[in-house]
Amino acid sequence: MFGYLVRRIATSLAILFAVSFAVYAIFALLPFDPAALTCGKNCNNPAIIEANRIRLGYDIPFWQQYIVFLGGLFVGRSYSEGAAAIHCPAPSLGYSFNEHECVTTLIVRALPVTASLAIGAMILWLVVGITLGVVAARFRGRSADTASTIFVLIGTSLPTFLTGLLLLVFVVIKWKIIPFPAGNYTPLLENPFEWAQILFLPWVTLAFASAALYTRFVRNAVIETLSEDFIRTARAKGLSEKVILRKHTLRAALAPLATMAGLDFAALLGGAILTEKVFNLPGLGRLSLGAVIEYDLPIIVGATLLSAAIVITMNLIVDLLYAFIDPRVRVAS
């Protein structure tokens, strides 16, 4: 098990390294001049552009830039010298000229927002999805099952931005159940109540579509597991349906869900662009979207790398979790 873990972590690091190179290469080879972009859209002053090029290190060949970039991750990086010097401490992902801040600082500020959004939404959709899925499977063909099917249809058909806007229009503006989010995200540790109040609708918005998908998935998984031979064995032992469902069915049915939830969560941590935009949350999604619009390459590279790292890490966690759930995987590894 330990050897497996070491091997997996080493592979993950290698993948991350390859991804970082690919991402850096893609953006370096784009037909934009990053130095020209730093001086504003209508800037035609070659002197400033050249000065910025040297200042930001775009004057050296691409592969050297990549090495400097990698070095910045470990030891930090300084731009310019003397009084105008800007220092981005390790792990430095670069410096955004648009925002006038180190990319790492921007990401560190945005990540808690996205994480709060993702974790809350995932808990919500897992609870709703698993509960409805199990109920629908248990009462297959009856009204509870039909109701869940309707929920699934609505949930999968409505796009996130529409769900979000509808919730805003009705829950906040028309019915005034929740006060209008003042616009500023409040960290959890500062004011938990306000934090939850601001995030509640985004959670519901994000969770709605996923909960519908998970309901369908769990329903099918439970129905399939209930037809397994080992469930018949459990019945033949004299176990009650409740124990059979809880102990024998759920564990087998929900194992594949770990994979799905892990990867969905990883994707969400990279930023929920639409939801963050609709609810004006300063998360990674909004940061990335802004960066794309502004051609802010350092932020795009940083955010992409972070997303890749999250996906790779979640993959590792999911595999370990799977081994924990399914003993057959444990031995094979």
Partner: protein, 338 residues
């Protein structure tokens, strides 16, 4: 009263194509210590008969009538009419079951110790240690060495034959009065088959339980069954003790089954005999004998009675009955060619 008496069992499934008569008026008895084999090809209703007795058929689609009275010491209980919770007290305790495929019948996520202990705990008020002791005892009984250690092993760490031994140990953990073994050797190698059949026979003698052995292979039951019920299209078509059935089969279908067993004492010059044709659809059964369309001897019965009327189960001797119009026609018993 016998240990288990099944009377006029009828199982129908409602499907979108129509009503499937899976089991049609099956009656049999089994005494303590007796082995009853139920033989027939796929779809003859042998498994459904036993699942119905165990209450393991989904009530939504299965329509069950008749009775299955079990004498568990406190007077006969009809397994088909008692409540679900009462039936659960009997399942796994008085009547236990071993299934066909040991690969899929054990839960892949739990150790075999967990699973056997669970089976013991449901029906006994004792702590887990005591159940674990019982589990080890049973594993040793079914011939698994190093039982103490093997308790913590998962099903996938065992071979097929060993898994079936685990299944048997699990079924026997509560000293059942009746053990239903549903094709316990079908999924196993031939050599392992023989071991498992011998194990079942030995255990049955040792524990004095009754056993219902479901199989499609007459060869498997020849050595271990006391009585054999041959089933065809949901009905018992012949019932006899094992010697009578092999020596003097009445129903042409039984003949066919016997003739299709490879035998070492016969010259291997000719091909094995087969029964031509297909079993009938259980949705639209013929009016007469269900076997008539495949029967090679129906012409011996006058007035095409085989196609028109269903023969009843008639006694050939005290321990032998058969559902065939040929029974009683002169010269039948003597004309058996094997």
């Amino acid at each position: 009263m016998s240990l288990l008496e099944v009377n006029d069992l009828l199982v129908e499934f409602t499907t979108s194509d129509g009503i499937v008569k899976a089991v049609d008026g099956v009656s049999f008895k089994i005494d303590r210590g007796e082995t009853l084999a139920i033989v027939g090809e796929s779809g003859s209703g042998k498994t459904v008969t036993n699942l119905a007795i165990m209450g393991l058929l989904p009530s939504k689609i299965a329509d069950i009538s008749g009775s299955a009275k079990l004498d568990n010491g406190a007077g006969p209980i009809d397994l088909l009419t008692i409540s679900g919770s009462e039936l659960r007290k009997i399942r796994g305790k008085d009547v236990a079951m071993v299934f066909q495929d040991p690969m899929s019948a054990l839960h892949p996520y739990y150790t075999i110790g967990d699973q056997i202990i669970e089976a013991h705990q449901i029906h006994n008020q004792c702590d887990e240690e005591e159940s674990a002791k019982r589990a080890i005892e049973l594993l040793e009984l079914v011939g698994i060495s190093d039982a103490q250690k093997r308790l913590n092993a998962y099903p996938h760490q065992f071979s097929g034959g060993m898994r079936q031994r685990v299944m048997i140990a699990m079924a026997l953990v509560n000293n059942p009065k009746v053990l239903i073994a549903d094709e316990p050797t079908t999924a196993l190698d031939v050599t392992v088959q023989a071991q498992i059949m011998k194990l079942l026979a030995d255990l049955q003698k040792e524990l004095g339980m009754a056993m219902i052995l479901i199989t499609h292979d007459l060869g498997v039951v020849a050595g271990s069954a006391d009585r054999i019920n041959v089933m065809y299209a949901g009905k018992i078509v012949e019932s006899a003790n094992v010697f009578e059935l092999f020596a003097n089969p009445q129903m042409p279908y039984t003949h066919g089954l016997l003739a299709s067993i490879p035998r070492v004492d016969r010259p291997q010059l000719q091909r094995l005999e087969t029964i031509s044709g297909q079993p009938p659809s259980l949705i639209s059964l013929p009016a007469g004998c269900a076997f008539a369309p495949r029967c090679t001897r129906k012409s011996e019965v006058s007035g095409s009675a085989c196609e028109l009327t269903m023969p009843s189960l008639v006694e050939v001797s005290a321990s032998h009955s058969s559902r065939c119009h040929l029974v009683g026609l002169s010269g039948l018993s003597g004309s058996v060619k094997r």
